[in-house]
């Protein structure tokens, strides 16, 4: 459970639980996920494949794929000073929009770029078509697409990956939402293009006072962009806190192991530290802490302890119950 410590969270997620029912066996790729999103911050949701980070995002958007269902938990959003349950059907395209991983398939191939960007203006704000197209061109300029007038008549397949992702961002901005949920927005892009797009997101956030959730597997991207980070493992958040604090001084053995496994940009090779074993099969997760079977600090109680994020310091929470690790989180 999360106790709100900071003022004015924009979004509160409590005990989110998502299930997949496949051939009669039920797996829970997102389990007991709770976090708060503060107005104006960039929150990173980081984890390896299968950690449930993308499904968490899609549950927020109400866009879970067929066969995947949110079975528990609550999501509330703030409007003014009131917190109320979030209805994704109504919130999509009004207060929140999403940026997808694969710009090659995320854009309707049969429509011109200007119509794709103009559509949210028309649908969400009742703008007339010609005016919406003009606004679309202006947005294209704002997201750094060269020759926007000419490019606005192009079809998505005629653009490069980087430009397509800029179009995607323009579409999200056209909804005039202030909350952007980004699902691995730069994973499909080259490093110099990634650099541009991440820069664009930083700029846009500042100019338009946006709040961002960034789902990624890349710890370095989180470190570059995110104010706060939530680390996910096997469907659960195991640690949250200010990014710099968490990365400098991880409060959960999994976070620490993950950080140690990343090849650093420092001279000299040498063996990387690895995590023994592999992430659990979601059909058969260990009891208690799900990381305990791979954790060298695990002790008896890890097998029975319930999942619970404990505050160890301001803005710092960890799910680890080992005293030494709680100690580490506090000792900043």
């Amino acid at each position: 459970m999360v106790e709100g410590r900071m003022s004015k969270p924009l979004l509160i997620v409590e005990d989110l639980r998502v299930e997949i029912n496949r051939h009669g066996s039920i797996v829970t790729p997102v389990d007991e996920v709770s976090f708060e999103l503060q107005q104006g911050e960039i929150l990173g949701l980081v984890g390896e494949s299968g950690s449930g980070k993308t499904l968490t995002l899609k549950a927020l958007m109400g866009l879970l794929p067929p066969g995947v269902v949110q079975v528990g938990g609550s999501i509330s959003s703030r409007s003014g000073d009131v917190l109320q349950p979030l209805d994704p059907e109504k919130a999509r395209g009004r207060i929140m929009a999403m940026i997808f991983q694969e710009p090659a398939t995320a854009l309707n191939p049969l429509r011109r770029v200007r119509d794709l960007i103009a559509e949210p203006f028309i649908v969400g704000h009742g703008v007339a078509r010609n005016e919406a197209r003009a606004k679309a061109v202006a947005l294209m300029r704002a997201v750094g697409i060269p020759d926007p007038e000419q490019r606005s008549r192009a079809y998505p397949h005629q653009l490069s990956g980087g430009l397509r992702q800029r179009v995607m961002i323009a579409m999200a901005l056209a909804t005039e939402s202030t909350l952007l949920l980004c699902d691995e927005p730069t994973t499909a892009l080259d490093v110099t293009i990634q650099d541009q797009i991440l820069g664009l997101l930083v700029e846009l956030k500042r100019e338009r006072d946006l709040t961002l959730v960034l789902v990624t597997h890349d710890l370095a991207v989180v470190s570059e962009l995110c104010d706060r980070v939530a680390v996910m493992y096997a469907g659960r958040i195991v640690e949250t806190g200010a990014t710099a604090d968490v990365f400098a001084n991880p409060g959960h053995p999994y976070t620490a192991a993950l950080l140690a496994a990343v090849p650093r940009f420092e001279p000299g090779g040498g063996d990387l530290t690895t995590i023994g074993g592999s992430p659990p099969d979601l059909r058969n997760v260990p009891s208690g802490c799900r990381f305990r079977t791979r954790c060298q600090y695990a002790f008896e109680e890890c097998a029975t302890a319930g999942h619970r994020l404990t505050h160890v310091a301001d803005e710092r929470q960890t799910a680890c119950i080992h005293p030494a690790w709680i100690e580490r989180g506090v000792a900043i």
Partner: protein, 284 residues
Amino acid sequence: MMTDGPSQAYESDAVSSRRPLPGILVAGTVIVGVFVLLALLAPFIAPFDAVEQDIPNKLAAPSAEHWLGTDEVGRDVFSRLIWATRVDLPIGFLAALFPMILGTFLGALAAYFGGWVDFVVTRIAEVVQAFPIYVFLIALIFALGPGVKSILITFTVVSWVLYARLIRGEILRIRTREYVQAAEALGYSHARILTRHLLPNAGRQTLVYFASDIVLALITLAALSYFGLGVQPPTPEWGAMVAAGQRFLRTQWWLSVTPGLVIAALGTGLSLISDGLDEWLKDA
């Protein structure tokens, strides 16, 4: 901090749990199995001979002796339906098997070697495809004369095209897979790459299509016999039986109705196998 254990744990539970066969695949196999048994055991199951006439007892209504009555020359309809399994089932099967063999061979060659081989095969396929293929079948059987042999020849000449296109597309797709490139990097021979690395993986869709193609072949064979171009009387054949019964539709309607139901039953079994295979092989 943490050391590298003997790498990732082996997902032993995943290995032992083989995926169950889809229910529809089992159901389809049972249905088709029954027909295969009927064909094999026809002499023991069928109460009467297939061709022996009994004119005085013609067009009899269903009775305890003749479960489905008798036809216009007094032959037992129930027995003829069973005996016809020996005709329709193997011809339908072969009329899909031969084109599959030819089409797979040509399609695989075209896709693997490309160049002029591909050019020639694709052009011929285009011409054959320009015809409504089953109408072309009628024209070809007309040219070759009716009978089982020309049916098998024409089916092969006409419907190999679908198999060739299918396998060609699959192989072109799979050729870019890294395991095929690895095989090339290892210097494997063309024959080995084709037979061990390409065909087993490209052939899944072909297998699915093969099962449904037998249905098409069965229906087409029945239609040809209905026109009098297929299996010639007095050999029992379902389509021909429908045609013969059509004259007596007002009075002995069962003569036309029952063979159609039998075709539909066998067809359903095969379609279930096709859909079941598709489901089973999809994410294998």
